[in-house]
Every structure is written in structure tokens, then in C-alpha cells.
């Protein structure tokens, strides 16, 4: 025992363990550009955030499987917990897979060693293989911790509530099969992203890989959102499994792990058998591809990323100045707006984190909009010209507009390298009060282009100018009010303000935005569809618009002078304030 303790102490204080700890630190918090105030969460907050979806969903399971509620609703004579829980099992597998993959996408840039690593470590007498092994160990450890964190609460609660009426043996079997499925799904999610990164690292030149990283991340987030949305449709295809009509290859990866889970529970079924086979093959392939490509490219990336790159002469980019000049004439009135507008657009498209966040919101909007279209009862309305579109069809641009507005608002708050913001602190009068005007112009440009080039022509094509003009105006008005509401107390130059790790009112805002989504999309679209049939219904919009405008006006009016100054460092309000009463 003493020997083991001594060996462990020796190992943990040795260079390899220190390298592993360093790798964990840099993946979690310390990338090349990370600095205090940027969007970097501490490990505690990160684990809490990742665990929360599983905990929330697990709590709601009592409603579905609680024995008293089942009794009151009339429990079926032959309640098969394995079959009855398939949709929830599928959801937990999707959740585990998506969260693990999302963490890998989020920390994408930190997975590869950067220039700072090279500067600090490469001159030390440590071989490249050791760097690689330490990074690999750190990643494996983190993947394990995240998998436990995301799945622990549901893994305990889910078997407990589903098998409350069953024997202990059934419960234990349910528990371990569920654990195996979600952990393997998490591992698959994490490794699949790695495999994608590795394949791209191997295929693309270094600069091209770095340049396209933000766009690839957006594409992966889009895929992950789509996977999450399959929780609503795929389980219906899997129950009962005997009627499974599609081949495993046509089903998304979470279904493979559901098949594996059911197989482990002893459900003998050809469909589950092929699905579980796919799970094993998929997991092995992801692991092999990621290991092979990562070991191939690690050295190259360490060397290339490391050497201070010498700037190569670049050609003048395609001139977009005519568009900016046009905007300068019509939209951007002051030097502040002109300079910051250009800076904001360039950051949005090249900054990385900002494009990633906007892409995530737009993806979510696109998927929800697509689902609404596909599930609309009047699908034919898109194909045949009828007098007025349904509420579902009308809600599509509203959904997209809601997420685009929110995404832009959120992305504008994500700081670009904060050390560089001195240029704004130095050149700009903090009392200029132009920040809301600037942010409004950025949001309205995006919305204006989307509405003018997609919404208006599309609705005109199907329902004519009257409906297209009215609907575009309604969407523009709603998005405008939403943007005004979000920007009522906005006082940051986009991308230049440090943000706190946790805002105490963040959860309330998130809940309000979820509730607001239904009001913004469903209610507005329903009232508009009535109004298109009977124009008197347009009167219903008047009090809502006036009420919203008044609330925004009041929020702006009650802002005191000092609160209008430009903010370069946002602090979370402390729960307890210490008063200095000593004078």
C-alpha cells in the first residue's frame, strides 16, 4: 500500500502528469487567445451547465412513469418498461451524444497545440510523442468526466422511475444497459467530432484548416441540432421495433445505440441486431479514424502552428467598399458608426466564436422552421396557390427572424480578443451613447437582407403581393420590436466588452426567451392568419405593438445618465453587498 502510494506520488509529481494537467487546463480554459472576461467558463460552471438538461428531463419523467399517475390514468395490463421507455431512452442517448459532441466542437481550437504551447514547451527536453500522449490522456480524462457528468443524474433517476413497479433484477438490468448505451453514445459523439477534425486536418493545408474552422464548426452544430430534433420523430419509427421499415443506415447514430441498448436487454429483434452492429462498427471507426488522423497530423500542426508564421504578401480582397459607401450615405451617420459597423461585420465573419454562436442560433431557427413546415397540416399550401397561408406557414419567417435577432444580439456580446480593445477605449468618447444605434443597424441590415431577398419573393410567388407585403411588414415589425427590446439598455461596442462567467439573471432571461418564442411565433402567426382572412383582426396588433413600444420607452427613460456610458467590462451583480459604514 505504502509502495503504491509512493509510486502514485512520484508519478503525479513527475513531468508526464504535469503535462497532462497542463493539457487539461489549456483545453478547459487557457487557449492562445483566452483571457479573463472572455467566454470561458470555469470547470464547475461548465459541469453544472452540462448536467442541467439531463437533470431537468429526469425530473419530468415522474410525470410519465410515476406509479400513482399511471394508476390514475389507468395503467395498461401488460406494462413493458423496456418497450414503453423507448422514446425516452432514445432522447437520453441523443442528449448524451449531442452534448459530448458539442463540447468537442466548442473546444475545437484547444484540441490542437498552439503557438503558446510551442513557445513554452517545445524547447524543454520532452519528446513529441510525450506531448501527444499527454494530450490524448487529457482528452480521454475529460471525455470521461463529461460523460459521467451529463449522464449521472438521468442514469440514476430513469431506471428508478421506470422500474419502480418491477423486480430488483429488472431494475438493475435496466440501469446498467442504460448506462452502457449513454456512455457509449457520449464516447461516439466525442470521437466522431475528433474523427471529423482529424480527417480535415489530414486533408486540408494548415492555413486552410485554420481559416475554415469556424464554418466547419457551424456545419457540425447544424448536424447536432438536427440530431436533437430527431428525438421527436425517430422514436415513433422504432416502436414497435418489429415494424421498423428502414435499414439501419437510414437512421441516425443515436438509433444505433438504442438498438444496442435493447439488444443488451435481451430484446431479440433483427432490426435491433443490425442497429447494435452499426453502433459497434461506428464507435470503432470513430475511434480508429480519430486516433490515426490525430497521430498523423499532431506533429505537423505542432510544428506549423508553433513557428511564428511569417506573413505572406496577400492580394487586395474583392472590393466591397461600394456597399460600405452606400451604407455610409444612408445608414451610418457618424465616424463611430462607420468604423464600428465595419469592425462588427469583419468580426462576425472572421472572429470564430461569434460566427459559431450566430451559426448555432440560425441552425436552431432553420431546424425549427423546417419542422414547422414539414409538420404543417396544410402542406399543400406550399404547392398550390390558395387564398391565404396557414398559421404554420406564416410562422416560418417569424421563427427564423426570432432566432436571427437573438443570435445577433447574443453574438454581439461575445468579446473578440479583449487586450486589443484599448483602441476603442482610447479613441471613443464613452458618453457618445451610439451603441444601441449601431447594434440596431447591424441587426436590421441582416434582417432587411433576409426579408427582402427570401421572405418577400417567396410569399409573393405563392400568395401574391398583398400577402407577401403584409407578412413581410408583420415580420419586420415583430423583429424590430424584439431587437428594440433586447437593445433597450445595450451599451457595448460589439465584441469589445468583457463578460462575467455567470449572470444571476441569466436563467430568468433564458426562460423568458423560451416563453417569448411561443408568443412571438405561434400567437403572432395565428392572429395574422385570422387577419388575412378578416382584416378587422389587424386591430388586435395595435395594443400589443403600443404596449411593447411603451415598455421599451420606459426602460430607456428610466436609465440614469451614468448607465448610458459605454461599457467595456460587464460585472455580475453580487448577491451580498458589503456596506462600508465607517465613512
Amino acid at each position: 500500500m505504502e509502495l503504491a502510494k509512493r509510486s502514485w506520488r512520484q508519478f503525479s509529481s513527475g513531468p508526464f502528469a504535469r503535462l497532462v494537467r497542463h493539457s487539461i487546463d489549456r483545453i478547459l480554459a487557457g487557449g492562445e487567445t483566452a483571457e479573463p472576461g472572455e467566454l470561458d467558463l470555469g470547470i464547475g460552471t461548465l459541469l453544472a451547465l452540462l448536467a442541467s438538461p439531463g437533470v431537468f428531463v429526469a425530473v419530468f419523467l415522474f410525470d410519465r412513469y410515476g406509479s400513482l399517475l399511471l394508476f390514475l390514468r389507468g395503467k395498461p395490463a401488460h406494462f413493458d418498461p423496456y418497450r414503453a421507455s423507448i422514446p425516452d431512452e432514445y432522447f437520453f442517448i441523443v442528449l448524451a451524444m449531442v452534448i459530448a459532441a458539442f463540447v468537442a466542437v466548442w473546444k475545437w481550437d484547444r484540441l490542437i497545440p498552439d503557438r503558446r504551447d510551442y513557445a513554452n514547451l517545445a524547447h524543454l527536453p520532452i519528446g513529441q510523442t510525450r506531448f501527444f500522449a499527454a494530450n490524448l490522456c487529457a482528452l480521454a480524462l475529460l471525455a470521461g468526466v463529461f460523460a459521467v457528468d451529463v449522464n449521472a443524474a438521468p442514469a440514476l433517476v430513469f431506471p428508478l422511475v421506470v422500474c419502480a413497479q418491477e423486480s430488483f433484477g429488472v431494475g438493475v438490468m435496466f440501469f446498467w444497459t442504460h448506462m452502457a448505451a449513454v456512455f457509449l453514445a457520449s464516447a461516439f459523439g466525442f470521437l466522431a467530432v475528433f474523427a471529423a477534425i482529424g480527417a480535415l486536418m489530414a486533408a486540408l493545408p494548415y492555413r486552410a484548416f485554420r481559416a475554415s474552422s469556424a464554418y466547419i464548426r457551424c456545419a457540425i452544430v447544424f448536424v447536432l441540432m438536427t440530431l436533437l430534433m430527431t428525438s421527436f420523430s425517430v422514436p415513433q419509427k422504432l416502436t414497435p421495433a418489429g415494424h421498423l421499415s428502414k435499414a439501419w443506415s437510414a437512421l441516425p447514430p443515436p438509433a444505433w445505440f438504442l438498438g444496442l441498448c435493447q439488444m443488451l436487454r435481451g430484446e431479440k429483434d433483427a432490426a435491433f441486431e443490425s442497429l447494435s452492429g452499426a453502433a459497434v462498427v461506428g464507435l470503432a471507426a470513430a475511434a480508429l479514424i480519430s486516433l490515426a488522423t490525430y497521430s498523423l497530423c499532431y506533429g505537423r500542426f505542432l510544428r506549423l502552428g508553433a513557428q511564428t508564421p511569417t506573413s505572406l504578401p496577400a492580394r487586395r480582397p474583392a472590393r466591397s467598399s461600394w456597399a460600405f459607401r452606400l451604407l455610409d450615405g444612408f445608414l451610418l451617420r457618424s465616424p463611430f458608426q462607420r468604423a464600428c459597423y465595419r469592425f462588427a461585420l469583419r468580426t462576425l465573419f472572421r472572429g470564430g466564436e461569434q460566427a459559431f454562436a450566430l451559426g448555432a442560433f440560425l441552425s436552431l431557427g432553420a431546424i425549427l422552421a423546417a419542422q414547422t413546415v414539414l409538420s404543417a397540416p396544410h402542406k399543400a399550401a406550399w404547392e398550390a396557390a390558395v387564398s391565404a397561408p396557414s398559421a404554420d406557414v406564416l410562422s416560418v419567417p417569424l421563427i427564423f427572424g426570432y432566432f436571427a435577432t437573438l443570435g445577433l444580439w447574443f453574438a454581439l456580446g461575445i468579446p473578440a480578443p479583449l487586450r486589443a480593445n484599448w483602441v476603442f477605449r482610447f479613441h471613443i468618447d464613452p458618453r457618445c451613447g451610439e451603441c444601441p444605434a449601431l447594434a440596431r443597424r447591424i441587426i436590421f441590415t441582416f434582417l432587411g437582407i433576409a426579408l427582402g431577398t427570401i421572405c418577400l419573393p417567396l410569399y409573393e410567388h405563392y400568395w401574391g403581393w398583398r400577402v407577401a407585403a403584409i407578412h413581410t411588414a408583420v415580420v419586420a415589425l415583430c423583429c424590430g420590436l424584439l431587437a428594440e427590446g433586447l437593445l433597450a439598455r445595450f451599451r457595448k461596442i460589439p465584441f469589445t466588452c468583457a463578460v462575467p462567467k455567470f449572470k444571476s439573471h441569466g436563467i430568468v432571461v433564458a426562460l423568458l426567451l423560451v416563453l417569448g418564442y411561443f408568443g412571438f411565433t405561434s400567437v403572432t402567426a395565428t392572429v395574422e392568419s385570422w387577419a388575412l382572412a378578416d382584416p378587422y383582426w389587424f386591430i388586435a396588433f395595435v395594443p400589443v405593438v403600443l404596449g411593447a413600444a411603451f415598455a421599451i420607452y420606459q426602460a430607456k427613460k428610466t436609465q440614469i445618465e451614468i448607465e448610458r456610458n459605454i461599457l467595456f467590462e460587464e460585472r455580475s451583480s453580487s448577491v451580498v453587498e458589503t456596506l462600508n459604514l465607517q465613512g
Partner: protein, 257 residues
């Protein structure tokens, strides 16, 4: 006319002051070199002079007016090169300078011409559309120098402007500072490099632990140093311990098995 004046500046971050009782006057054409070891308070003074932080006590005056009364007006007349070349890596050098010029309210066509000319003079012409992230430290420093000079300021505050520059660029910048001084610009120049300060500055201010220990014309400081070099005078004023003794102690510690 006094372009820049510090009057009894004191700055406290904690109970102990970071700098105290800093006073100097800078007239048009003066080049004041600020010297001091690490932690002497040079950057704190620069932050107060640029208006990025307010002094706990004392005033910074520009042409007789407290700079905090009209910070925007003061900064219009000011060019500033910070110690660290922190720039947005995703912008190109040209885009960064365009942003600074626009923020300064420069007329567009004149600004574009000036940027192109400056980039060519600072040997950055072929890299002007490349992302700053790929620039070397010296290239970033040159971008900062251009940004500070673009609007032809009356006052220049330069914090280690030669940091990272190659010999040729450094020589050009040294000559540039001298010429700007001769053309009537008031320049506050912070540096660790004594020989540069000696060559380009008309006055030298030496700091030690937040206080001024010497402030004189460069020639007077030479006379003060007697037969020894300015370096010896500087070390005598600011060093806590004998340099040779410290060096031999380091070597002894290195040799410990």
C-alpha cells in the same frame, strides 16, 4: 505654450501608491525620455497621460486645460503607441488603420492615401491585406506607429516604440522621433534602452519605485555622470544592489547540484 504638463500625479491601486509626485512640463519640440526599471511606474504614468486612467491626485494638463475636462478633444491631438502591440488578429493591417482613421473622423479619400503611403514607407505595402494574426511583432509595432501618426498629432506618447523592430526599422523610427521633435511635436518617450533615450531625447526623467529620482536635460545628466557613461549613472540611481555581486550570486546558485 506647454503642450503637456503633469502636476503632482499620484496613483494608488492599493494603499501604497504606484507612483507619486510626478511633475513635468513638455513644450512643443521637447522629447522627454522616461526611464526606469521594471515596476517603476512608467506604464501607470502613460495610462494617466493618455487619459486611460484618472490620477488619484494631481492633474494632466494639455495646453493649460485638464485633459479630463475634454478627453475627446485632447485625444484628437494625441498619438499613442502602447507597450504591447495588441491588435485584432482577424483584421488586415489596412483594415485596422482604416478603422483607426475613421474613428478619428478623418476624411476618407485623404485617409486612404495616407494609409497607403505610410504602409509603403514602413515596408508593409505587400502585407497590407494579410491578417494581422500572421504579422511578426515588429510588423505589428509598425502598424501601431502608423496608427499613432496617421492624423498628424501635436503630442505623441510612445511606450517602448522600438520593441520588436529590426535594426533598419529601429534606426528609421529613431530618426523619425528626432525629426518630429524638430518639427514641433511634443513627445513623451518611455523606454528601457538607455542608448536610444540618450540619442533621441532632449530631457530624461528617471523613475525609481514610483518616484522621480532625476529629471534633467540629457546633456546635464551626462555631466552628472562625470566620466562614466549614462548607464552607470542610471544604475547608480535605481539599482538596489551591486550588479557584479548579483551576477556572481546567480552563477553560484546555478552551480548548486
Amino acid at each position: 505654450m506647454i503642450a503637456l504638463e503633469a502636476k503632482g500625479l499620484k496613483k494608488c491601486y492599493t494603499a501604497a501608491p504606484a507612483v507619486s509626485d510626478i511633475s513635468f512640463r513638455l513644450q512643443a519640440g521637447d522629447v522627454l525620455g522616461c526611464l526606469g526599471p521594471n515596476g517603476a511606474g512608467k506604464s501607470t504614468i502613460v495610462r494617466m497621460l493618455t487619459g486611460l486612467s484618472k490620477p488619484t491626485r494631481g492633474q494632466v494638463l494639455s495646453f493649460g486645460t485638464d485633459v479630463h475636462k475634454d478627453l475627446v478633444g485632447y485625444r484628437r491631438r494625441l498619438g499613442y503607441v502602447p507597450e504591447e502591440p495588441e491588435l485584432y488578429p482577424f483584421l488586415s493591417g489596412w483594415e485596422y488603420l482604416e478603422m483607426v482613421g475613421t474613428l478619428r473622423g478623418m476624411e476618407r479619400s485623404q485617409m486612404e492615401k495616407k494609409i497607403d503611403a505610410m504602409l509603403a514607407l514602413f515596408s508593409l505595402e505587400s502585407h497590407r491585406y494579410a491578417a494581422i494574426g500572421s504579422y511578426s511583432k515588429g510588423m505589428r509595432q509598425r502598424v501601431l506607429l502608423i496608427a499613432a501618426l496617421l492624423h498628424d498629432p501635436e503630442i505623441l506618447i510612445l511606450d517602448e516604440p522600438l520593441s520588436g523592430l529590426d535594426v533598419v526599422s529601429a534606426t528609421i523610427v529613431k530618426s523619425l522621433i528626432k525629426t518630429l521633435g524638430e518639427r514641433g511635436k511634443a513627445i513623451f518617450y518611455c523606454s528601457h534602452v538607455l542608448e536610444v533615450v540618450e540619442k533621441v531625447c532632449s530631457q530624461v526623467m528617471i523613475l525609481r519605485k514610483g518616484s522621480v529620482v532625476a529629471h534633467a536635460a540629457t546633456a546635464d545628466l551626462h555631466a552628472m555622470a562625470g566620466h562614466g557613461s549614462l548607464e552607470h549613472a542610471f544604475v547608480r540611481l535605481v539599482a538596489d544592489r551591486d550588479a557584479e555581486q548579483a551576477a556572481s550570486e546567480i552563477v553560484e546558485v546555478m552551480a548548486v547540484a
